[in-house]
């Protein structure tokens, strides 16, 4: 990306100039966060006013040349009692806020089950987006309104942070691991996407938008974009072109574990432990094959680290997820690329 200094990139949503105090809300969670925020602002504002007022009033009343009564100064003992009183009040307020904020936080992380999962990859300095049906976008995410959307975010280089202010949602994106983010947009419109974690020269240009559409519009948009392949389909092609099929489908005679139906199952490992084959496991097995070797197999698989992009890994994982347990065993001649696309 070039450092355009004259004009801002055109993918930014339209905004009004002028002074605003609160950001727009576009999800149910945004409303709940704002309620807590306003409560906090009121409490903190009151406490600040109390402190400033005390300073002003006491400063005026007990100014050096005033005749205010200064007799009967309080004792250490009184001080301690007053302090304990203040401590108790603050403790109650703070613990209340802690409980409120924490339960909200848990709700933000443990979302309802999602209608669809969209893959998002951050790299210097853009957001690459892959929809479940294979549609790809850069710096823009189209989603339907009122549906729970799950985003699987990762990074290809440094730490980025996926930030949707209108949804009050932010998650740091680390290389080498997947993060799940969910939201339910409840208001059609165009909202901002920022990178919030400093990531190098053009950090400030790593922006995009999220377009929330009515269901019908979304379907229309999808069909217009429909030409491109589903990730599972392109994943199947990658599976062949990277030579994975050679060993994992038993064509070359090298023994490698079958991957059909492996997703979500417990896999016995060489050390005697077992692991659930989730996305992280599959990702690791591609870039760090020696990390978790399946019991009964030699650790001979080469690492694909550096040769394969995070986007391609996601497609291969989508393909592996799409495989039925019997896809290969019953009919090895069948073309595996016909594996069903993920719903």
């Amino acid at each position: 990306m070039s450092s355009e200094t004259s004009a801002l990139p055109d993918y930014l949503p339209e905004v009004s100039k002028g002074l605003t105090l609160m950001p727009e809300q576009a999800s149910a969670m945004a409303g709940r966060i704002d309620t807590l925020y306003i409560a906090l602002v009121v409490i903190c504002g009151l406490l600040t006013v109390v402190v400033f007022a005390l300073i002003a009033v006491l400063g005026y009343r007990y100014r050096a040349n005033s005749r205010a009564n200064r007799e009967s100064q309080s004792s250490e003992h009184t001080h301690r009692r007053v302090e304990l009183g203040v401590l108790a009040i603050m403790l109650v307020i703070f613990m209340g806020l802690f409980g409120w904020a924490s339960s909200l936080y848990l709700d933000m992380f443990r979302g309802p089950s999602a209608a669809m999962t969209i893959n998002v990859i951050g790299k210097q300095w853009m957001w690459k987006v892959q929809h479940p049906d294979g549609t790809r976008e850069i710096n823009t995410i189209h989603v339907p309104v009122d549906e729970t959307i799950n985003l699987r975010v990762t990074s290809q280089d440094v730490i980025h942070s996926f930030y949707l202010p209108a949804f009050r949602l932010k998650r740091d994106v680390l290389p080498g691991s997947y993060r799940e983010v969910w939201f339910t947009a409840d208001n059609p419109g165009v909202y901002r996407l920022f990178c919030a974690e400093y990531c190098g020269s053009y950090h400030a240009q790593m922006r995009g938008k999220i377009v929330v559409m009515e269901q019908a519009d979304y379907q229309q948009w999808l069909t217009r974009q429909g030409e491109s392949e589903a990730p599972a389909v392109s994943g199947a092609q990658l599976f062949q072109s990277y030579g994975c099929s050679g060993c994992h489908m038993g064509k070359t005679g090298i023994q490698a574990p079958s991957l059909a139906g492996v997703f979500g199952r417990a896999v016995p490992l060489a050390g005697g432990a077992t692991m659930i084959a989730d996305e992280a496991y599959l990702h690791d097995s591609i870039v760090q094959p020696q990390k978790h070797v399946v019991a009964g197999f030699d650790p001979i698989m080469p690492s694909y680290s550096g040769q394969i992009s995070e986007g391609e890994i996601l497609q291969i994982i989508a393909y592996i997820k799409s495989l039925e347990p019997l896809d290969w065993k019953t009919n090895p001649s069948q073309n595996p690329t016909q594996g069903e696309a993920q719903p």
């Binding site: 966060i33 402190v51 300073i55 001080h79 603050m90 806020l97 920022f194 400030a204």
Partner: protein, 537 residues
């Protein structure tokens, strides 16, 4: 007026001990070393401040049109690195602390005077490394040096910058060590722990943090340098390393470091408010307990910098809980300062205005810290200008204001001269107004979602950014003014005499400027700190 004939001007004092350069550069007198530090941190402060002004100038307009993106990134990195490690961390301890702690405990010098001088040289060496990094390409990692950006993507000036910070870390370790030993071993007869001024307590607590936290920063910076230089990395995700481990180790130092910065300011403010209210500090014991518990509990809250970084949600909630707890002693302290005014006899001198500004700004900074500790909200405002505003309220609104207040309060003691009463009040007010104008709009910006470290931004954020930049101009005046009238006072200020504020505390028992060994006779302490009487006079 000629001070030579003024009876309040001592015939012999530490400033008259020798005027050659080597008398300064090879001195082991804690008072002269304090001046060495004062000169160096002032230079660094204005260096960092210039970077800040350029940042604010850039942000007047939404597009990045004043400087290039890379220059902007180097500017805020320079601002952060210089301000945090070369100004805020040493500021009060190395200048006022160095000058006053031996006098406040009634000693002739710190326990290890040569170590004290050495730590200034280490500081200077570290500063040179960092400046070399700036000249040799500029560092663009931000002051946090987050991996893998710093280890694998940024330019190699990172090595020099990290080495500079590594080196300056040892300076603060040695200073802290010196203060702790001095406070433990060198108190004057009769000066029990609970008769110590809160300034000494605050610096003692600060020193504990310096000694216990700084080495972890050293080790993590060493790991960065080793990763860049030798290629043996432990943060590289491709090897199964974890960039988050860096953040854990980094914040294990850098969160307590916030308390290194603010605790001495709290100590200064306690001295000033007590003196100009002519009253003992409200709840002395409570203040001591608060200081010490901030120092200890400050060590177990670092995870609140990583709420959205990908640490486990349970660890996040645990760190949020501890963060709420560590806010309690700060709340007590704020309350106690305010309560000290009650039934006092208050004069609004410049130091007092600074101190009361500190209390106000620290309150706002602290309470917005509560908003940030509320973990669900932090998800939204983390890495936005809300955080920027919050920590500037603590570090600039709190710490720098406290530092300037202390400098004005003890300036007569350090130099033996008084400064302009009028101009100092103007400066203090300019600082309060300019500061709020600069940083209050940033809270709103942050909640609106403007991320930190942005070289350009959407147009609807402009109004608030312009307000902020205007405030920065006022603030700059507030910082430049003291430079002029304090310098002026060095030559033309009237002699102050031993105790111009009629303050309590051992440092006021001796001449201004003090003699080489501080006291003509080691004092014997018979009363508690702050034995002021508001009913008198």
């Amino acid at each position: 007026m000629s001070v030579a004939t003024d009876p309040r001007w001592p015939r012999e004092h530490y400033l008259s001990e020798g005027f050659r350069l080597r008398d300064w550069l090879l001195t082991t007198d804690h008072k002269r070393i304090a001046w060495l530090y004062l000169a160096s941190i002032t230079a660094f402060f204005f260096l960092g401040g210039t970077a800040a002004l350029l940042i604010r100038l850039e942000l007047i307009t939404p597009p990045g049109d004043l400087v290039s993106a890379d220059t902007y990134n180097q500017l805020f990195s320079l601002h952060g690195i210089v301000m945090v490690w070369f100004f805020l961390i040493p500021s009060i301890p190395a200048t006022l602390g160095n000058f006053l702690i031996p006098m406040m405990v009634g000693a002739r010098d710190l326990a290890f005077p040569r170590l004290n001088l050495l730590s200034w040289y280490i500081y200077t060496l570290g500063g040179l490394f960092t400046l070399a990094a700036v000249i040799g390409g500029g560092v663009d990692t931000g002051w946090t040096f987050y991996t893998p950006y710093s280890t694998m993507f940024s330019n190699s000036a990172v090595i020099a910058a990290a080495a500079g910070v590594f080196i300056v870390g040892f300076s603060s370790i040695l200073t802290g060590l010196n203060f702790i030993v001095t406070t433990h071993k060198m108190r004057a007869p009769g000066l029990s722990w609970f008769r110590l001024p809160l300034f000494v307590w605050a610096n003692y607590a600060t020193s504990l943090i310096m000694v216990l936290a700084t080495p972890v920063l050293s080790s993590v910076l060493m790991l960065i340098v080793v990763e860049r230089l030798l290629g043996i990395g432990i943060f590289d995700p491709a090897l199964g390393g974890d960039p988050l481990l860096f953040q854990h180790l980094f914040w294990f130092y850098s969160h307590p470091a916030v308390y290194i910065m603010i605790l001495p300011g709290m100590g200064v403010v306690s001295e000033i408010i007590a003196c100009f209210s002519r009253k003992p500090v409200f709840g002395y014991h409570g203040m001591v307990i608060s200081i010490m518990s901030i120092a200890v509990f400050g060590f177990i809250v670092w995870g609140h910098h990583m709420f959205v970084a990908g640490q486990s949600i349970y660890a996040g909630i645990m760190f949020s809980f501890f963060t709420f707890l560590v806010a309690l002693p700060s709340a007590i302290k704020t309350f106690n300062w305010t309560a000290t005014l009650y039934k006092g006899r208050i004069t609004f001198t410049a130091p007092m205005i600074y101190a009361l500004s500190f209390v106000g700004l620290f309150t706002i900074g602290g309470l917005t810290g509560i908003i940030l500790a509320s973990i669900a909200i932090d998800v939204h405002v983390h890495d936005t200008y809300f955080v920027t505003a919050h920590f500037h309220y603590i570090m600039v609104g709190g710490m720098v204001t406290g530092y300037l207040g202390g400098l004005h309060f003890w300036w007569p003691k350090m130099t033996g001269r008084m400064y302009s009463e009028l101009w100092s009040k103007v400066a203090a007010l300019a600082l309060f107004i300019g500061f709020n104008l600069t940083f209050f709009p940033q809270f709103i910006l942050g909640y609106l979602g403007m991320p930190r470290r942005y070289h350009e931004y959407p147009v609807d954020f402009q109004v608030l950014n312009v307000m902020s930049s205007l405030g920065a101009g006022v603030l700059a005046i507030g910082y430049l003014l003291p430079l002029f009238y304090l310098f002026w006072s060095l030559r033309f200020g009237p002699a102050a005499g031993g105790n111009p504020w009629r303050a309590k505390g051992l440092e006021w028992w001796t001449d201004s400027p003090p003699t080489k060994h501080n006291f003509h006779r080691i004092p014997r302490v018979t009363e508690s700190a702050y034995a002021y009487d508001p009913t008198a006079e």
